[in-house]
């Protein structure tokens, strides 16, 4: 166990992994738990992980698996999400309505679809790496993302966003400043 190597990794990539966890998980507390638990598991297996081609990709995969596992375990739990305080987001450009609506819709996707979306559109993973992270084929990745985008458009129709923004999301015509 090369503890220094693990420390270096967390110092260098810890915040990025926290950001990633936040996008995977529906609320901040769960996201913090997710990244801490994942790194704890990584610590316990670091000797093996540091030999991986990309330790960060390996840890991201652990995180995705763990996130989906937790979701499976708790999917019958009622989430009083409407009671949770909204995390304020600075609106500096007037684009918050569209962006917030889109993010709400992403959070309502099934976890695997959400993970696929985050890996592609946030982490910029190619399909091959997403497939590896999710433990499925590239074709499955493409269908997951396609389904997610369809869901986003469908959800947008019923979401609490202004009609103009729904239309813009659906047709991708809005230019964000």
């Amino acid at each position: 166990m090369t503890e220094q190597s693990f420390s270096d990794f967390v110092v260098a990539r810890g915040h990025e992994l926290t950001r990633f966890a936040h996008l995977l998980s529906p609320n901040r507390a769960e996201a913090e738990d997710l990244v801490q638990d994942t790194l704890a598991s990584a610590y316990a297996s670091w000797r093996r992980i540091e030999r991986a081609h990309s330790p960060e990709a390996y840890v991201r995969r652990m995180m995705v698996n763990r996130h989906i596992s937790l979701w499976r375990r708790h999917r019958n739990r009622v989430e009083p999400r409407h009671l949770l305080p909204e995390v304020p987001t600075a609106d500096t450009t007037g684009r918050a309505d569209v962006s917030d609506a889109l993010l709400r819709l992403v959070r309502d996707l099934p976890p695997k679809q959400r993970a696929a979306v985050v890996l592609r559109y946030y982490a910029d993973y190619p399909d091959r790496d997403i497939a590896e992270a999710l433990g499925c084929s590239q074709a499955t990745v493409r269908s997951q993302i396609s389904r997610a985008l369809t869901s986003l458009r469908d959800l947008a129709e019923h979401a609490d966003v202004v009609p103009e923004d729904i239309s813009l999301i659906k047709h991708g015509e809005r230019t964000l400043q």
Partner: protein, 305 residues
Amino acid sequence: MNVEEMLRTSLHGEADTVPPISDLLDRAVGRGRHKQRVRRAAAVGGSALTIAAVVGGGLAVANLGPDNRASVTPNSTAGSPTGAGTMPWWDTWTTGRHNGPVDQTFLTAAKPMYGNESQPEDIQTWATGSMPDGTDWVLFTSATTGHALQWLQGWNGAPDYGESRQPVDRGMTWTSFESPTLAAHNDYRLEQQWLIVVGQPDTTAISYAADGSDFTAMDVHDGIGVMKIDGYLPTGARVQLSDPSGVYATGTPYGAGPDPQASPTSGSAATTTPTASPSSGYARAQTAPASSGAPAQITPTPSPH
């Protein structure tokens, strides 16, 4: 800008609002060391099996020390309702709805690797299956963990690396609706279940008798016996464990009693109640004591820290 670019911009914007966790390294290392201790405990031969069995007739119990050698404690201690590390213990795992074929890729990926090993260890699988939602599971032992029976689940051919190896006992954090345990599935009509008996490491034979007298040999390896049985363990069920010197223990397996589905008001069968674990927040099933005169009970004790 199309919807994909909007998505990308929104996700990055959202990520930018996330503050760093100031003590992330300390927390990760702290939790990681705890996980390591648990694994190390399992690797030295079952001391992480935090289970005590209480059996009417009393059983020889073996405490496994760090050198992986068993030391037999007097039978008189076997009646204690607690006692971390006491063995043998047993438990039952249901199959029923979880009896689907297991993914061979998952089994291959389930092989553990410890320390300086250059390749994964072969595993001895005891029970495998898959659930309707696609989750694969396996109960196994490996050379390093030796006597400790472990549970692993995953899907799409990949184990859950986040919470993978863990000894199977009443303290396991995996006791959720996904785990194929009686505790987790008492709402369903049970058709078959695994009876798994963990004896002393030098156990040579384990037998099971549904009626308490007509014993059938179980498949035994490394002191662990496994048998698939139909329905619930009947009230008179008995198991018998032998080592080279002969029978060293006979007792009633945990959970034996009237079929709770046939007689839901029966007071003699152990019942389970999902409760929240204050440490993790995850649902965990705990075994509530049965009424007096009930068969063996297993009391969870804390995992090693």
